[in-house]
Structures are given as structure tokens and as C-alpha cells.
């Protein structure tokens, strides 16, 4: 099964971002979207998440899908603990025990068990982003949308969070759409990598990454070659 967007049109501030744009996302995989800043990557995520309406176009397979988000900043409620923040994203329709179970499980997976009762102000930036990752996974969604969640973090923290993320994802295999401007991030996390052009947006390159996520190294020749292709497509 695939999720598809067909014939998408969207203007934003009198710039036509999307003109007859088509893309598909295979389910159960991580699709990375690379592109120059201002090309409307966030707008695409917002259209998928049903936050903004396209001017026209059809979204196929998205209608009954539930989405969760990982933002660039963690966006945690300062007055809720780590646990409370994760629970916040869970529907009150779920029974209490179910919510507890989900929350505890993902707090363990992001290795914050010792900090479950901490308020965000007492956590480091990386820990906060881990809470935000746990929140997105704990929410029983079909698709996780990520809008440059690693932007501005130092390389060590970045690799650490990529590790955390891929470990949870392996056990979960949820559909992920990951917007980034960092080629290395996409090489480490993407099952498929899509490079978008400036507005009006077109797909320049679409590449599958054939190595399992757990076994990737940026030093391998395969990823080095792939990186070159992506960089060329981005015009760098």
C-alpha cells in the first residue's frame, strides 16, 4: 500500500509553491525529503497532517490516517513532567492503564526512565527532543511527520538521537515522512530519499537506500556515492 498525493496545487504569499505536484510514500518506511529552504517542505507536511488545505489536489490513502509530529523544537508543556507530556498526546479515549503502559514503554525506549517525573526545564536539549520523539511514537498514529527535528544540534547529539530514533523505529516500522536539509541525516535514516527543487516544487531525484538502517555508516562507499548524487541534485 502506498500513500499518494496527486495534482497538488498550493499558493503561499502569492508564490505558487506547488503546481501539479505528485509524490507517493510507501507505507512502513522512512521517506526523507531534502530540499532548499523555503521550498515548501513544511507546507507539504502541514497538508499531509491536514493542518492546511491544498488549493486543489487529491490525497489518496491519507483520509483515515492519524499523524503525530516531531518538530524542530521539542514543544513540551513546561508545566507537565516527561510522563505528563507524553500522556498529553494520547487520546482520553484510551483507558488509563493503556495510556500508562504506552507512556512507560516509550519513556524506557528513549532511556529517560530515571527522568519520568522531571519537568522540561530540568532536562538538557537532547533529552527534551527525546521526550518529543517518545511522544510521537507513543501516540498511536499511522504516520510520523518530522520537520527538521535535528536542526541546530551538535553532531554528537544528532548521531545519538538518530540512534535512539532508528532503534525505536526498527521495532515499530511506522510510516515516517522526514523533512530535512541535511544530507547526512537523510542517508542515515531514509529508506527512500527525495530531493525537491525550488518552488514550484518538482522532484529532482528519488533514491532508494538499499542498506538496512541499523548497518549504515557514512564512510561506506555506497553512501558516499549516494551522497554525491544528492548533493549534485541540490546543486551544492
Amino acid at each position: 500500500m502506498s500513500l499518494e498525493i496527486k495534482g497538488l496545487y498550493k499558493d503561499f504569499d502569492e508564490i505558487s509553491l506547488y503546481r501539479n505536484f505528485c509524490i507517493d510514500f510507501p507505507e512502513g518506511t522512512i521517506t526523507c525529503i531534502l530540499g532548499p529552504s523555503g521550498c515548501g517542505k513544511t507546507t507539504l507536511l502541514n497538508i499531509i497532517g491536514n493542518i492546511i488545505k491544498p488549493d486543489s489536489g487529491t490525497l489518496i490513502g491519507f483520509d483515515k490516517k492519524v499523524t503525530s509530529y516531531i518538530f524542530q523544537d521539542p514543544r513540551l508543556l513546561p508545566w507537565k513532567t516527561v510522563k505528563g507530556n507524553i500522556e498529553f498526546a494520547l487520546s482520553k479515549d484510551l483507558p488509563v492503564e493503556e495510556r500508562e503502559k504506552l507512556t512507560d514503554r516509550f519513556i524506557r525506549l528513549v532511556e529517560l526512565d530515571a527522568f519520568a517525573g522531571y519537568y522540561p526545564s530540568k532536562l538538557s536539549g537532547g533529552m527534551r527532543q527525546r521526550v518529543s520523539i517518545a511522544r510521537a511514537f507513543a501516540c498511536p498514529s499511522d504516520i510520523i511527520l518530522m520537520d527538521e527535528p535535528l536542526k541546530g544540534l551538535d553532531i554528537k547529539l544528532k548521531l545519538n538521537l538518530i540512534g535512539t530514533f532508528s532503534r525505536i523505529w526498527q521495532a515499530d516500522k511506522r510510516t515516517v515522512i522526514f523533512v530535512t536539509h541535511d544530507v547526512d541525516e537523510s542517508l542515515l535514516l531514509g529508506n527512500e530519499i527525495v530531493v525537491l527543487s525550488q518552488a514550484p516544487v518538482q522532484i529532482i531525484v528519488r533514491q532508494k537506500v538499499e542498506i538496512p538502517i541499523a548497518n549504515r555508516s557514512l564512510d561506506s562507499n555506497y553512501l558516499k556515492e549516494l551522497k554525491q548524487i544528492l548533493l549534485n541534485a541540490l546543486g551544492k
Binding site: 493542518i51 492519524v66 503525530s68 509530529y69 514543544r75 508545566w79 507537565k80 498529553f88 519537568y119 526545564s121
Partner: protein, 251 residues
């Protein structure tokens, strides 16, 4: 850290002693209980107030007037403040009223209230009018300070409107409500007692102050004043304490 804290307390203590010393010197200079009784005589008078058979009724009346006024203005201020914070048109509608109430001299409000209301209600009405603008303005500022990214996050996660208000807006404006309550209380007690002096309800600190002034019982006037200050101080402490309890995520 601890040392600097206690040294600060010493300085505060020195300030109190300084005020008492000035008072003592002035009372010795005037040498008349009808002008300025000595601190120790006033202190004894203050203690004797507690023995007054109506003491509880008097102090209780003033405090309950303050609390009723505070609760009413709190409900009104938080309610209208939330609506005004969310709806700019309502805010524009409310703004001139708040400014008018705030800039009207308290004494003018009291004089009008004396014509319109019975003596017991005048201080409550005055307390409400003086406290309401503080609480309301703070709530409006609080709502405006709510991080739009958090609201967006909650919308993205399909959180319902009631939960957004309860779990996002209310906690976000809580610190603003508390600081509004603190300034409101500070000004409110003064207004209530002024109201009591002029409206003369049966029981009330202001009523007794006025009576003491009529008979030139200066020590009693000051004694009631000290009591009023203590009540105001007590409530300020309660507000600070509730701040620590309610806004634990900040500390």
C-alpha cells in the same frame, strides 16, 4: 548563600527598629497621647484589641468583605480576561472600561457607592472594582503570552478545545493570575478599609478606626492600622505560598 540570606534579614530587622526608634523619638517630642502615643503604649492597645468581645466579628467582617470582593473580582477578571485575551474585538471593547475603572479615584467610587448601596456592601463593591482591573489585565497579558507553537502542537495532536484550555491555557496564565492577585490584594485591603471608614458598617476595622479617631484615641487608630497591615501581609504570604505550590515547574 545562607549567610547572605540571614544578613538580609538583619538589615530588615534594623529597618523595623529604625522606624520604631523614630516613632519613639517623635512621641517623646510631642509628649501627648492625643498626638502620638508611644510605641509601647500602642503595642499594649493592639494586644488589648484581641480581648474586645467583638474582635472576631470586626476582623472577620473586614476579612470576609475582602475575600468576597476578591473572589468576585477573580471570577469576573479571569472570565472576562480569557475572553478578551482570545478575542481582540472584545479586548478593544473591555480596554476603555478597565482604564476608566483604574483611573477613577477610589474615593469617588466610594462616594457613589454610598449613594447606591447599603453600608455593608459598599466595601465589597469597592474591593471588587479596585481588584478586578488588575486581575483582568494580567489574565489578558497571560493569554497573549501563551506560546503559539504549543497551541499548534496541541492542534497537530488533535487535542480537543476543552483540554487545550484546561491543560495549556490555564497553567500558562496561572503565574499571571497569581501576580495579578498579589497586586490586587495589596491595593484591595486599603480600599476596603477606606470604604468601611466612610460607609460605617456595624462591624469592620474601618468603622472602629473612625470611632477611635472621633474620640482622639490615637493609639487605637494606630493599633487597628497595625492589624490591617498584618492582615494584608498575611494574605500576601498566602499568595506567595500558593505560588510555590501551584507553579512547581518553575522552581
Amino acid at each position: 548563600m545562607k549567610i547572605s540570606f540571614t544578613s538580609k534579614q538583619y538589615v530588615s530587622l534594623a529597618s523595623v527598629i529604625f522606624m520604631l526608634a523614630i516613632w519613639k523619638i517623635l512621641s517623646m517630642h510631642f509628649d501627648s497621647d492625643f498626638v502620638l502615643p508611644s510605641p509601647e503604649k500602642t503595642f499594649i492597645t493592639t494586644l488589648s484589641l484581641f480581648g474586645d468581645s467583638h474582635f472576631l466579628a470586626i476582623v472577620g467582617s473586614t476579612i470576609s468583605r475582602g475575600l468576597i470582593g476578591f473572589v468576585l473580582s477573580g471570577i469576573l477578571g479571569v472570565g472576562l480576561g480569557i475572553i478578551a485575551g482570545i478575542n481582540p474585538h472584545f479586548n478593544a471593547f473591555l480596554r476603555p472600561m478597565l482604564v476608566t475603572i483604574r483611573s477613577t479615584p477610589v474615593i469617588a467610587l466610594i462616594l457613589l457607592a454610598l449613594i447606591w448601596l447599603n453600608p455593608g456592601s459598599v466595601p465589597v463593591f469597592i474591593a471588587m472594582l479596585t481588584m478586578f482591573p488588575f486581575i483582568c489585565t494580567n489574565v489578558i497579558d497571560g493569554i497573549k503570552s501563551v506560546d503559539p507553537d504549543l497551541v499548534e502542537m496541541a492542534t497537530f495532536y488533535r487535542i480537543g478545545r476543552n483540554r487545550i484550555i484546561r491543560e495549556l491555557y490555564i497553567p500558562a496564565i496561572l503565574p499571571f493570575i497569581i501576580s495579578g492577585a498579589s497586586s490586587a490584594m495589596g491595593i484591595g485591603w486599603r480600599a476596603i478599609i477606606t470604604g468601611e471608614v466612610l460607609s460605617q458598617p456595624r462591624y469592620g476595622i474601618g468603622t472602629l478606626m473612625q470611632a477611635a479617631q472621633t474620640f482622639l484615641n490615637v493609639d487605637a487608630v494606630i493599633a487597628w492600622t497595625i492589624l490591617a497591615v498584618l492582615i494584608s501581609y498575611g494574605f500576601e504570604k498566602v499568595i506567595r505560598w500558593s505560588e510555590l505550590k501551584l507553579i512547581i515547574w518553575r522552581f
